[in-house]
Structure formats: C-alpha cells, structure tokens
Amino acid sequence: MENKVVMITGASKGLGRALTLAFAKEGARLAICARSSENLLRVKEEAVGLGAEVLAVTADISKSRDVERFVAMTEEAYGRIDVLINNASILGPSPMPLLLDYPEEDFAEVLRVNAVSAFLVTRRVIPGMLERNVGSIINVTSEAGHTGFAGWGAYGISKFAVEGLTQTWADELSETNVRVNMVDPGEMDTDMHQLAVPDCDYPLAKPEDVVNVFLYLASDKASGINGQRFAAQSEEV
C-alpha cells in the first residue's frame, strides 16, 4: 500500500475513520472527505500522527460541484488516485419507518446521498484510472442491500442501488484492469448502527475489525478480482 493514493468518502467517523487509519498505517497517501469539518480534521490529525500524508476536504459529495472540487484537489495534490472507497452514506430518519410510512423527501434524500453520490464520485475518478489502466474501487454495501428487510427503509433500497452500480460498472470495465467490488462490512458498533438499531442487545464488531478485506481489495493481490461481493464478517472471507 506504500504510496498508493487512497480516496475515502465519509471518513469522519465509524467505518470511514477506521479505514482511514488502517490505510494510514499501511503507508498510503490519503484523500478523505466528510460533510462536516470538525470530526474530519480530527481523523486527519490521527492519520497524520501515524505518519500518513492526508488531504482532508469538507465536501457534500451528493453535490456534483463538491465532487469535482474534492477529486480535482486530490488530482492536483497527488497526480492520481489508485483506490476509491465509496463509504459515505446516511441512514435517514431514525428509528427507520416502514416504507409505508416513509416521508417522500427523506426517501429521495437517502437515495441521493447513498446511491447518486457513489455514481458521481466513481464517474469522476475512473478516467484517471483508465488512463493508467489500473485502479480499485470498493463500494460499501449492507446485508439490507442484498435482501429486503421490513424496517430497513430507504437505506436498504439505496444499498440495492449501490450493488447494481457495482455490478454494472464491473461489467463495463471487464476488459480493463480497473476493478469494482463491494464489501458488506456487517453490523458494527457505530453511530449509524445506533440509529438503525437503537436498543441493540447483541454484541457488535468494531469497525477496526473489518478493514482487512478492504486492504486486500485495494492491494495488487486482488488484481483480476472484479464485480465481486465480499462479506467482511462471514466465514468465506
């Protein structure tokens, strides 16, 4: 991972923070973003403390203008992007209402932030990867993006979109060395999980426990792996 340029969206907390620190330890050069700057800068300081070079940009990547700004700054700073992790997502209203009860604007907002942003960032980053004919894109999905569960609302549906995005893009890129895969990290002890399952009474993994599959997919060891879905907490990984 030494000197690879790794871009991570939604890096201010939870899995995004854990990934940032894990890649920092591996010697990656990082470009991270989040909507609010306070936590993001804290994560940046932590990663810098581990010896990493970090570009931290406050950006709302569901907006095309912010995507352009974030990626252009990264290209300007590092000249290229080797790995993109589309991690940013929101849960929507908590506790999650049934779709039957779901407010229209919240539904649209969750889809926009979780699915449209992954499209916008990926479309913007891929050309540089194609030019060098190498690159790894990792989308973060969820069990709720694979099977429809009552009560997982717009979040689950947005993750279905992310899974479709992953498969379609992987197929479009199948003749190239740019690969697109997805990881279901499983349930983790994060702020988002607290919103999703407010009274959780079962043990949860730490975000730090699931980073290995991301490190693997980002590495050259995973070249040739494209369009696959990985479950970070299941037996087969």
């Binding site: 940009v57 700054m73 290209e75 300007e76 700073a77 050309p127 479009e172």
Partner: protein, 343 residues
C-alpha cells in the same frame, strides 16, 4: 508576424451551438462528423460514433486529458482600502505558479497594487501586467490545493456569448479528462464517449493521452487579438506516449491528434525534443508536420488561427470548400458543436 492571412467566411448565427448535444436530445458521440481527405479533398458526412470506419488497426489516437477548471470568478475591487466596485469579473487565463495566475480583470483601469476580494478567505493582488496584453499577473493569498478549493467553490466555467444558459461545469468536460488546469475545454475531445474509446481499443486502434492546459483565448474586446505566439500553453507528454508515437510512425501507421492542442504539443516536442514545457508554436500552411498524420477537431470561427493550423493538414482550397459545405448543410460550430476529421 503571423495570422495575418486568415481564412474568412460567413458563419450564420444559428450555426453557433448554444446547447450541449445532450440537451439537444443527442448523445455526445452522435454529433455529426465531416470527414475531409487530406490529399483529394473529398468530403464525407457521417456521425462521430462511426469514427472507427476511418481508422485502421495500429493507428494511434492522441487525446488531451486536461480537465476544465471553473475559471470565472467575481470579486470586490479595492485600491488603498477604497472600494472601486462591489463586483467585477476575474477571468483566470493561465497559471504561472502555485499562487500566481495571469487573469483578465473585466474592469478599467486596473493598476498594480489593486486588491480583489473573492471571498472572506481569499483575495488577490495585482503584481504586474503582461506585455501587449490586457492580462494582469495576480497573486492569491492561498496556493496549491487550498487555492483550488476556493476556486472550485466559487468559480463558473468560461462561457462565450453564443451560450445563453449557464450550463454547469460538467458540460464543459470531456469524459476522459483527469488533469485539472484548462481554462477552456479542450473541446475536440468532447464527442468521445468511453463506449467509442473501448470500441477503438478492441479494434487495436491505440489510444493515448498527453496534457496541455489551455489558456484564455478571447479577451472580450476585439482590440486584443491574441496570436498563437502570444498564447503560451504548458504541455506534458510522457516518455511512454512518445515511445508509442515513434513506434506507430516506424510501423507506417498514423498518429491522429484530437484537437489543435494535441497537434501543438506533439509538433513542439518534435521540434525541440522537450517532452514537457511551454509552447507558443504557430502552425500554418507552410509548417511541415512531423508527427500528426490526421486531426479530429471541431469547426472553427472565421479568421481563427486554428484554421491556419488546419491548412497544414489540407490545402486552403479544400478546407474552404469543406467549410462552405458544412455551413450549407447546417453543421454546428464551437465546443458543443459537430466534428471534423481531416485524414
């Protein structure tokens, strides 16, 4: 002295493309393409996505991967802490260093020492002016990625007078651009889609990239006509790309330059051997092209210096005849318009 004997013709207003193809119900790669034979002057009318019909296995297509930045900014104009205007336009023209740009400031008369407040966090000071040009050298209070951050947050793309709607920056990008720095879109590549590029690659037509950041081409005042020699542009060609070019030429295949920027960069390198640098090369009818065997370009305005460059590929007589036919058959001009392959 150059650019004095320029090709002239009458271009009706309705042939200025004011909308991107996607806003005219057309995919970007479905715009029209006029194919002009360099030797015979024969003209064929087609659609751009049929480009592969005119290329052969082993040919090398070179694209400019420079990405358009939002170069139009607005600022409060101050001199000795006195406000001269609440808002004037500052049009970035060319980057000189991490924090210094050449800029066209749409206000008069701007003097060295004047200060422009672009936002609470960014201002610029005029530190000099470019000779024989309305451009000023301005120094920002931020540099590098921090400067980019504010420019991207505030800026809008350069839009010319035939554009009547504020199309956002995304419409001013080619699908393959990944090196931010052009003030105006290197528009010859705009009609390419990845679908078309993948098709070419499958046919063993090679695709490669160089980088040339375009500068501001028009100074909003006909008093200032910028010749190619005045317009210095920064270019970069990788060793690998040059090796592929040499290989292509050696095997008798053709190098197709996408856009006048690519011709300029390649022919500069052919003359001075430098793969990176600044070019002000002027190419006209007399210029012996050493690398480019063909060009893909848009349609250029009457008297544009780009037309001089095209006459290095094909005789002026054939070019003028083709342009007249393009006008008669309603081709569209400028960055959102139709394409011309000269091969």
């Amino acid at each position: 002295m150059t650019a004095t004997k320029a090709l002239d013709f009458y271009l009706p207003d309705e042939l200025n493309a004011s909308h991107p193809p996607e806003k005219r119900g057309l995919r970007r790669d479905h715009v029209r393409m006029m194919v002009l034979d360099r030797t015979t002057g024969e003209i064929t009318h087609d659609r751009f996505f049929h480009l592969d019909k005119y290329l052969e296995s082993g040919d090398l297509v070179i694209l400019n991967n420079s990405r358009t930045i939002p170069a139009v900014l607005h600022a409060e104009w101050l001199r000795n802490t006195v406000q001269l205007a609440p808002e004037v336009e500052v049009r970035l023209a060319r980057r000189r260093s991490e924090d210094i740009w050449d800029a066209l400031i749409v206000a008069n008369p701007v003097k060295t020492g004047d200060i422009f407040h672009l936002s609470p966090e960014l201002s610029a000071t005029v530190i000099g002016e470019k000779e024989n040009s309305p451009l000023k050298h301005i120094q920002f209070t931020k540099k590098g990625t921090e400067l980019f951050n504010v420019i991207y947050a505030l800026g809008e793309p350069v839009r010319y007078e035939y554009i009547d709607q504020p199309w956002n920056l995304d419409y001013y990008q080619t699908v393959f651009a990944s090196r931010p720095g052009s003030v105006e879109m290197p528009s010859a590549g705009r009609a390419f889609s990845w679908e078309l590029l993948f098709k070419l690659m499958r046919m063993d037509i090679k695709v490669d990239f160089i980088q040339l950041h375009t500068g501001l081409s028009y100074f909003l005042d006909d008093q200032w006509i910028q010749t190619p020699e005045d317009n210095e542009e920064e270019y970069h060609i990788s060793d690998r790309t040059m090796a592929r070019i040499i290989e292509t030429k050696a095997s008798g295949k053709r190098v197709i330059a996408v856009g006048t920027t690519v011709v300029r960069a390649l022919e500069t390198a052919a003359i001075n051997g430098a793969l990176s640098g600044v070019t002000n090369l002027y190419i006209d009818q007399q210029f012996p092209l050493k690398i480019a065997d063909g060009i893909i370009t848009g349609l250029h305005e009457p008297k544009a210096s780009h037309l001089d460059m095209l006459s290095a590929f094909v005789s002026e007589r054939h070019l003028l005849r083709a342009y007249n036919q393009a006008i008669d058959t309603g081709y569209l001009w400028h960055e959102f318009g139709d394409m011309n392959l000269i091969i």
